[in-house]
């Protein structure tokens, strides 16, 4: 057993942490978030230069030979800095599909993802599908050698900045069947693709993405036609591990800020950190954060294990971190008092991000249910 980071991982963490400290301070971020485009392409280029975008890919694929642990290291730092650039959509999700694609797809897209020139967004959620990855009304109908896509994807994070989409669509079977789901690469500028862009409450950008008779070739299918769901689940579980790491980073900062504030802020003549009722809550925040780190490691280390183990690990982590993030975020605001409610202080922005992480890729209830179902599957058949 070994919970140490490799030298490369430590280097990534240290240099990223420095970059964020120097160029991603809270005021700068706030200006960027409120700007027209809502992000900094030049920051994305710096992430590429640091090797962050190639870190989780194998050397055969042109990456640095890392994997999910490297993505975890990056995402924890991103969580500390409330980074808005689309690492999860493009590198973890886009890259996650492409590295499991065929050689031609890798060649066409993966080097662009790693250099940062190609940016993916993951168009999977739908207006009536909630968190069920197979509940798809978007269809891809066979048309000659290729397919024609029609549908509406909801809250596609990072879509305004994307050049390409990974799109999940139904190629056969009934709505919600696990069979009959396929995964496509679609260029954002393809004929028939339109978007409505908007800001999100946690400072990012997203779009509603509409596909109207969008023709794609057979070469756009990633993985097997009709059998895309297992692939979607693997990539989604990787994304869950990544945003759990992000949540850990955000919780760390929210907690540190709160402890610090409680030392400075005086009421009734003493720092509020002297009040036991607040001390215990800050201790609880600390314990929640520690448990979250443990669960993030666990889920990240189990990504390559068998399907049930991986899924249970990802769901367990997502449940625990959804709960922890809510507690830490709410208490951080409460202990900051009125100041915590202001846009001017960073702590409220950590609270908002932690809130939204819970609903990304399935909330607490969704993953409790998934975990329970997987556990029931695992039980030995009852002797009757």
């Amino acid at each position: 057993m070994d919970f140490n980071f490799t030298e490369e991982q430590s280097m990534i963490r240290d240099s990223l942490s420095r970059l964020i400290r120097e160029q991603y301070d809270f005021d700068t971020r706030r200006k960027v978030v409120e700007s027209e485009s809502g992000w900094r392409p030049e920051m994305w280029a710096q992430f590429a230069e640091l090797g962050l975008l190639m870190a989780p890919f194998s050397e055969e694929d042109g990456g640095l030979g890392g994997g999910p642990i490297d993505a975890m290291v990056v995402m924890e730092e991103f969580g500390k800095g409330l980074v808005v650039e689309p690492y999860v959509p493009s590198v973890v999700c886009g890259g996650g599909f492409l590295k499991r694609g065929n050689d031609a797809q890798k060649e066409e897209y993966l080097s662009g993802v790693m250099s940062g020139e190609t940016i993916f967004a993951f168009a999977y959620a739908e207006p009536r599908g909630r968190y069920n990855l197979a509940d798809l009304e978007t269809t891809a109908k066979k048309d000659g050698a290729g397919f024609v896509l029609n549908g509406h994807k909801a809250v596609v994070i990072g879509a305004p900045w994307a050049t390409h989409f990974i799109v999940t669509a139904r190629t056969s079977g009934d709505r919600r069947d696990s069979k009959g789901v396929s995964v496509f690469v679609v260029a954002k500028d393809a004929q028939g693709v339109s978007t409505r862009d908007y800001p999100t409450v946690d400072g990012r950008r997203a779009s509603e993405v509409y596909f109207e008779n969008v023709s794609v070739g057979a070469e756009s299918v990633i993985g097997e036609v009709d059998n895309g769901l297992p692939l979607i689940e693997i990539v989604t579980d990787e994304a869950i591990a990544a945003i759990c790491a992000e949540a850990c980073g955000a919780m760390k900062v929210a907690h540190t800020m709160t402890v610090e504030y409680s030392r400075q802020r005086k009421q009734f003549g003493v720092p509020i950190g002297k009040f036991q009722v607040l001390q215990h809550r800050m201790v609880d925040m600390f314990m929640e954060h520690e448990q979250s780190i443990s669960m993030t490691y666990m889920a990240t280390l189990k990504i390559d294990e068998d399907e049930v183990t991986r899924k249970k690990a990802a769901s367990a982590a997502k449940v625990r971190i959804g709960q922890a993030g809510r507690f830490v975020g709410q208490e951080a605001i409460q202990i900051h008092g009125g100041m915590g409610m202001t846009d001017e202080l960073a702590v409220g922005h950590y609270f908002k991000r932690l809130t939204m992480i819970d609903s990304e890729f399935g909330n607490v209830d969704h993953h409790l249910k998934r975990y329970t179902a997987l556990t029931e599957m695992d039980l030995p058949a009852a002797a009757e």
């Binding site: 207006p127 409505r196 409450v201 409610m341 202001t342 846009d343 409220g348 609270f351």
Partner: protein, 398 residues
Amino acid sequence: MNLDFSPEEIAFRNEVREFIRENYPKELEGMGTREDLTREQFLAWHKVLGKKGWSTPAWPEKYGGTGWTSTQRYIWSEENARVDALMPLPFGVAMVAPVIYTFGSEEQKQRHLPGIQSGDVWWCQGYSEPGAGSDLASVKTTAVRDGDHYVINGQKTWTTLAQHADWGFFLCRTDPNAKKPQEGISFILVDMKTPGIEVKPIKLIDGTHEVNETWLTDVRVPVENLVGKENEGWTYAKFLLAHERSGIAGVARSKRGVERLRTIASEELVDGKPLIESQDFARKISQLEIDLTALEFTELRTLASEAAGKGPGPESSILKVKGTEIQQRLTELTLEAVGNYGAPYGYGMENAGNEGFGVGPDHANFAAETYFNMRKTSIYGGSNEIQRNIISKMILGL
């Protein structure tokens, strides 16, 4: 003890319901839970009620109260909450007015109460200061007597909607040498147009401009604007806070919120079935409703004892703590119910109107913003930690 409405009360309910249906401003429909409204929108219903004589039911009749029984007032809140009515703001009606009619001079009553009742005059509250949130008695803003005036200097914060205010009530230190922080404070009414007052917006995490910093520099206020006795403002301040707390439970509004949550949960789908059919979520709503019932009956008991002549006491802290916890839980569950569509930022949308903003179902619009905004409720009006201290000290004697 019994819970039934009498035939007279049922008739009253029908009358109120009819009046609301005919007179509630159409342009306010669906806006009752929004924070980004204009002065005119905030005051529209208040002005209608002012004309009818129903804007200040809780006041003594001789000052313009309706003389309704506590049951009638309960019916009144329920009927307004049914349509999410945008009720008169508390700063004038429920906060400063009771102080004025209880402790103020005849002249103050005549001058200020009619404008509060009609909705023509907007009041704001100058209590909190940057260094003193929950520790309200550590007021640093000073009022120094100079002939027929007080000269006020200092800074207030969290002055809710002061950008619209005509008048404000301020806690100021008039005796810097008082032995205890609670002594030497005075309660002063200030015309917000007086030179030297500057109101600066504070943006909150939900993106709205609901509160302000208010700076007072050599603000000259006539001495007749002092309420009650000099240096005894703390007594009036506490009286006001107890009144604020008893209105803070928000039972009728939360009941409406639970209904709305049920509707949302029956429209949102999980695996093709309504969310409300998922046992996990249905139980959460039930739990919330049970907690709300407990709060409702606690409030009814409190109202009954008030009707029997007892003023709001430390028990009102229960209503504040439980009421705000329920309001927060309600917005948390509403956000949970809307799923992915909690993410779009409503106040960042170009075309956010009362029809929603066209991304996702209308019922999801502003769910996250409202959840963020409602975190304030366990902080304001004396934080919930302070309320627990009050109960511990005043009721348990610890």
